[in-house]
């Protein structure tokens, strides 16, 4: 075997890493390209053998400055951006954004549009949780579940594609409603999907939930206490896994969520296994919501009256939705006109990831992968 690189090799002078306090420790770089960091995330690990002494996430590889773009675009021009922040579950992002303007300007949304919004958002939540289950198991070395969950995802993506036109980065909601109505075919396919999905739970329970190796890899790993969650501002399934039943859909209900009867699954120990169970049970609760919404779906227009050129009053406004990963808040400061003065987007995975340094002290590398996987991070939403 000859060395074909030869004399034309490019020499890169890398700065040696100085000031490692302990000679027995070494630095390991997880990412930015790595199969387990879901997106472009770099985690700088100081390792003592197999144990992680310190974990520092390094962000910004996907930073696009969405908040500056929002200061130069009116709401219609910025709508597609909202679908690209969290691409795995983009409809709640759409929802928060348009509902923000509706709250600020007092725009009425027809009932049918609200129901359609809820149905599609919950379908999107199901899709996101399926993706997460597959990816988490893939991180742990089980190559099969991801294909089963992607099969379920395909059913939903086909349904949503018919009505929204996209499979991933949705731009479906408008201020005042949604941009296209749902028809009987959509309702039929959704009902068929709900029935099919309920039967699929037995497969997931056999293959994953009861799998002794999976349980051993996730039980007791990455325990987040409620106090830690409060200090870091953790929300979503990560928080609910630690036993706090906080869900924006019940706490500060928006849209037509008060009309539905659903539960908030919580875990007890705050470890990775509880976070997995919470998300699995949330899929079932989303199916319940969709069923009730389909039963209650009223007739009527799907898009209310909204001015083409928005005239915002001066002042600030905040809107919070329950995205698939936690609490998503849009905070808008307007100085009049139709372009925001400032739009702050508070993203759930941002706070969830910031707990990593405290969580991962003296943890095995494999446990770090399991804990990070269980937090369900999507890096583009963190980087915005």
């Amino acid at each position: 075997m000859g060395n074909l690189v030869g004399d034309n090799a490019v020499h890169v002078d890398l700065e040696p890493v100085t000031d490692i306090p302990n000679d027995n420790h070494f630095y390991l770089n997880m990412g930015p390209q790595h199969p387990s960091t879901h997106g472009v995330l770099r985690v700088l690990l100081e390792m003592d053998g197999e144990y992680v002494v310190e974990a520092q996430p390094v962000l910004g590889y996907g930073h696009r400055m969405q908040e500056k773009m929002a200061e130069h675009k009116n709401w219609m021009a910025f709508m597609p951006n909202t679908g690209r922040m969290d691409y795995a579950a983009a409809l709640p992002y759409n929802h928060g954004y348009v509902a923000l303007f509706e709250r600020l300007c007092g725009i009425e949304v027809p009932a049918r549009a609200e129901y359609i919004r809820v149905i599609t958002s919950e379908l999107n939540r199901i899709v996101s949780h399926h993706l997460w289950i597959g990816a988490m198991l893939l991180d742990m070395g089980a190559f099969t579940p991801i294909l089963y969950t992607f099969d379920d995802r395909e059913q939903v993506l086909d349904i949503l594609e018919d009505v929204t036109g996209s499979r991933l980065t949705y731009c479906y909601f408008r201020v005042g409603g949604v941009c296209k109505d749902i028809d009987d075919k959509f309702i039929e396919k959704t009902r068929a999907f709900i029935k099919r999905q309920r039967e699929r739970f037995t497969i997931y329970n056999d293959l994953i939930t009861g799998n002794i190796i999976f349980i051993k890899r996730t039980e007791g790993v990455g325990i987040i206490s409620p106090d830690m969650a409060r200090r870091y501002g953790i929300t979503g399934p990560v928080l609910r896994g630690s036993g706090i039943a906080y869900d924006v859909r019940k706490n500060e209900p928006y849209s037509v969520y008060p009309n539905f009867d659903f539960e908030i699954p919580v875990g007890q120990n705050g470890d990775s296994y509880d976070r997995y169970m919470v998300r699995l049970l949330e899929i079932e609760q989303s199916l319940r919501i969709i069923e009730q919404a389909l039963d209650q779906l009223p007739e009527g227009p799907f898009l209310g009256k909204a001015p083409k050129k928005m005239k915002m009053p001066t002042g600030d406004c905040s809107f919070t939705v329950e995205a698939a990963r936690g609490e998503l808040t849009y905070y808008l400061v307007s100085g009049g006109g139709d372009i925001p003065y400032r739009l702050k987007i508070r993203v759930p995975s941002y706070s969830n990831l910031s707990v990593l340094p405290e969580l991962c002290q003296s943890m095995l590398l494999s446990d770090l992968v399991a804990a990070m996987g269980s937090m369900d991070l999507v890096i583009p939403e963190i980087d915005r």
């Binding site: 962000l59 910004g60 930073h63 400055m65 908040e67 500056k68 200061e71 923000l100 709250r103 600020l104 007092g106 969650a229 409060r230 200090r231 870091y232 501002g233 953790i234 929300t235 928080l239 706090i244 906080y246 706490n251 500060e252 009053p313 001066t314 002042g315 600030d316 406004c317 905040s318 809107f319 919070t320 609490e327 808040t329 905070y331 400061v333 307007s334 100085g335 003065y341 400032r342 702050k344 508070r346 941002y350 706070s351 910031s354 707990v355 405290e358 980087d383 915005r384």
Partner: protein, 170 residues
Amino acid sequence: MHPATEKLVSALKELSIQVDNCNYEERGYHFEIDLEADKLRVLAECMLAQEMFLGFVGGLHVKPAIEIVYQFASFERACRFVVRVPVAADNSIPTISDIYQGANWHERETRDFYGVNFTDHPNLVPLLLAEEDVDLKPLLKKDEDLKESAELRWAAPVEEKPEAEKAEQG
């Protein structure tokens, strides 16, 4: 008003912090506080003691001084606070990252975008921007776009409905 929320509001009043009720339907939050920087840490400690969590820390570039916006909310009931604090003349403000560790990253990001210095922050290096873009400060507005802080507040009076009926959120 929920008893825990009442307790929180009276605890804040004891620290001589003015709490204004807001119309939730219009604004999306329940209480608004305009604060001086020296009372910031006391407020944060009170919030943590009353079991609120930190939503976000963001910046707002206005005249005369950049304002840092904090949003606090509760896990147990609907109770959302927006706190606005103008920075000092030398563009600095105390950090609350030892009280709320989640503020660590939010403050780093605000420094990236606005150049505000959070005194006593343990690790104030760029978070989202690259290391060489330390002085980029992308969200600072140009002079012709900059507005007064008073221009960006609600024109109509805050209190529109009777307090008891409107504040029945929690």
